[in-house]
């Protein structure tokens, strides 16, 4: 009986380890590939070099795409965070029946298949002349990021004692000031989480950008998608490694921000 149990245990652990390897190996394999010296994608690479990093940093096209992506991602986080915090605050503070429906409207960008979002935004932009523009990309990403910011901040506000803000107001502060000085510092980790979510989502967004970006204002993801579809260029491995390292750093930041919250 005992023996049978431990065999089952070993099989279970083995299975879980296999699944975890399935999850993590493909992400890690890109790293050695990016340092390969060869055009061919043999693994492990026969010799190592930095040529694919040079190909990325030395190519004006890739660089301008990277710049577009960074501008769009920063602007998205800067716009989506205050708008999202305001909306989350309203959802939390009001018990009006309409809030339930408005909250669902704010979740729609997560619910609607992204191809439909892309087709819709493409149509609106074609009418308003926003196609192939940076502000166009930013607004689309703000819309897609809002559910993440609202969800993160609503969760943060949920654990916050509202009476503290009321005390500040009873002492004569107006609503805005009491929010800024009393509430915001205490929900900072969740606001930061929301902002990072917004940033990563904008950096990672591909589908909508495929429809609405073009010309000089193509983000990195669109260039990568086109490159991947046409031929497998090892430069992608270098970019992939940089992106993975970047998102890993951001996730670490988020974990650290959460740890700072008083339990």
């Amino acid at each position: 009986m005992n023996h049978k149990l431990s065999l089952g245990r070993i099989l279970f652990i083995g299975y879980v380890v296999l699944v975890l390897l399935f999850l993590i190996l493909p992400v890690l394999i890109v790293v050695p590939m990016s340092f390969s010296d060869s055009r061919f994608l043999s693994f492990p690479p026969s010799s190592y070099s930095l040529r694919w990093y040079e190909a990325f940093f030395g190519h004006a096209g890739w660089m301008s795409a990277a710049r577009t992506s960074l501008i769009v991602a920063c602007a998205t986080a800067l716009i989506a965070t205050p708008i999202g915090v305001a909306a989350a605050y309203a959802i939390n503070a009001s018990s009006h029946w309409i809030m339930r429906y408005l909250k669902i409207v704010l979740l729609l960008p997560l619910i609607v298949p992204v191809i439909i979002v892309a087709a819709g935004v493409f149509f609106i932009y074609a009418l308003s002349g926003m196609l192939h523009t940076i502000p166009g990309l930013i607004m689309a990403d703000v819309m897609l990021a809002l559910p993440y910011v609202v969800t993160a901040v609503t969760a943060g506000l949920h654990g916050f004692d509202k009476t503290q803000e009321m005390v500040a107001r009873s002492l004569g502060m107006n609503r805005f000031r009491s929010f800024m000085t009393v509430t915001l510092p205490q929900i900072k980790p969740s606001v930061l989480t929301g902002a990072i979510f917004a940033f990563i989502q904008a950096l990672d967004e591909t589908m909508v950008a495929l429809f609405i970006s073009g010309g000089r204002n193509q983000p990195l993801t669109v260039r990568m998608f086109t490159a991947l579809r046409d031929e497998i260029d090892p430069t992608i491995a270098a970019i992939s490694t940089l992106l993975t390292a970047g998102s890993f750093a951001l996730v670490m930041m988020m974990v650290l921000a959460r740890k700072q919250t008083p339990a």
Partner: protein, 271 residues
């Protein structure tokens, strides 16, 4: 309070709700008036049927595989000591935060004719010639499972974490074998997580575009690719919007039915 909501609502309204209304209207409009022509077409032409059948088949397979792979991982994370549980979760979350394009690229390298997987299979004598693992439906399914697996594990873990350990001990002290306790106590209590995870994976898979486009080799055409092709290649908004509406109705119907059983926030919480 409504004033604070206004900017966010305005953005979602102009960029999502209004164009969706327009798509809906467009799908019912042909030859200068109201018509069901576009729907008649997509329900009578083989290519549309095949695409929807393929989309649903892939979504079912992916959801099932993700459940079979994700449940034990979430279970392990929920019973392991804190330290090991964090490691398991970190291994699930890191790929979750890696770009879909990066992962598609990794799978293209791994699964190609001379890729690591084929080399290993041939070296171990399982196969003599390289297997066609990519640029087809199989490659699409493998990469899609990889991308959607965290969406299965995270809601499952969130549910399992809340199952009191006392209950399992009570079951064991009443004489149940570990397997029996798992089947009669733990499994039923984890069902809301199973439902949340399956819904999320299935619905996301229905709308997948990037992965089948890159891994499918042009032959694995899923519903969202029909929308894209109709717009970008043929400028056929009628057909594109009819396909969009059918896709959207499927997704909303699934959310509605599942939403009767568990809350929407629970499903979307992990996303």
């Amino acid at each position: 309070m409504l004033v604070l909501m206004l900017p966010a609502i305005l953005v979602v309204f102009t960029l999502l709700v209004v164009p969706m209304g327009w798509l809906f209207w467009q799908s019912l409009y042909a030859e200068g008036g109201f018509s069901l022509e576009h729907y008649r077409r997509i329900f009578s032409e083989g290519i549309y049927w095949n695409t929807f059948a393929l989309t649903f088949r892939i979504s079912f397979i992916v959801t099932l595989l993700a459940l079979l792979m994700g449940y034990p991982v979430a279970y392990a994370a929920s019973i392991l000591p804190q330290r090991w549980a964090m490691l398991v979760l970190a291994l699930v979350i890191l790929p979750f935060w890696t770009s879909v394009l990066v992962r598609a690229y990794a799978w293209l390298i791994l699964l190609q004719r001379s890729g690591v997987v084929n080399q290993t299979l041939m070296a171990s004598g399982i196969t003599d010639a390289p297997l066609p693992l990519v640029h087809n439906e199989l490659g699409t399914i493998i990469a899609t499972v990889h991308i959607l697996l965290p969406f299965m594990v995270l809601p499952l873990y969130a549910t399992m974490q809340k199952i009191p350990y006392d209950l399992m001990q009570a079951g064991a002290s009443l004489g149940g074998s570990p397997l029996h306790v798992f089947l009669r106590v733990f499994l039923p209590l984890s069902m809301s997580g199973v439902l949340a995870g399956m819904t999320l994976v299935f619905v996301l898979c229905l709308g997948f575009y990037i992965t089948p486009e890159l891994m499918g080799g042009g032959r694995t055409v899923m519903a969202s690719m029909l929308v894209s092709r109709n717009i970008q290649l043929y400028s056929d908004w009628g057909a594109a919007s009819a396909v969009s509406v059918v896709l959207l109705v499927c997704v909303l119907a699934i959310f509605y039915v599942v939403g009767r059983l568990i809350s929407l926030e629970k499903i979307l919480g992990a996303k």
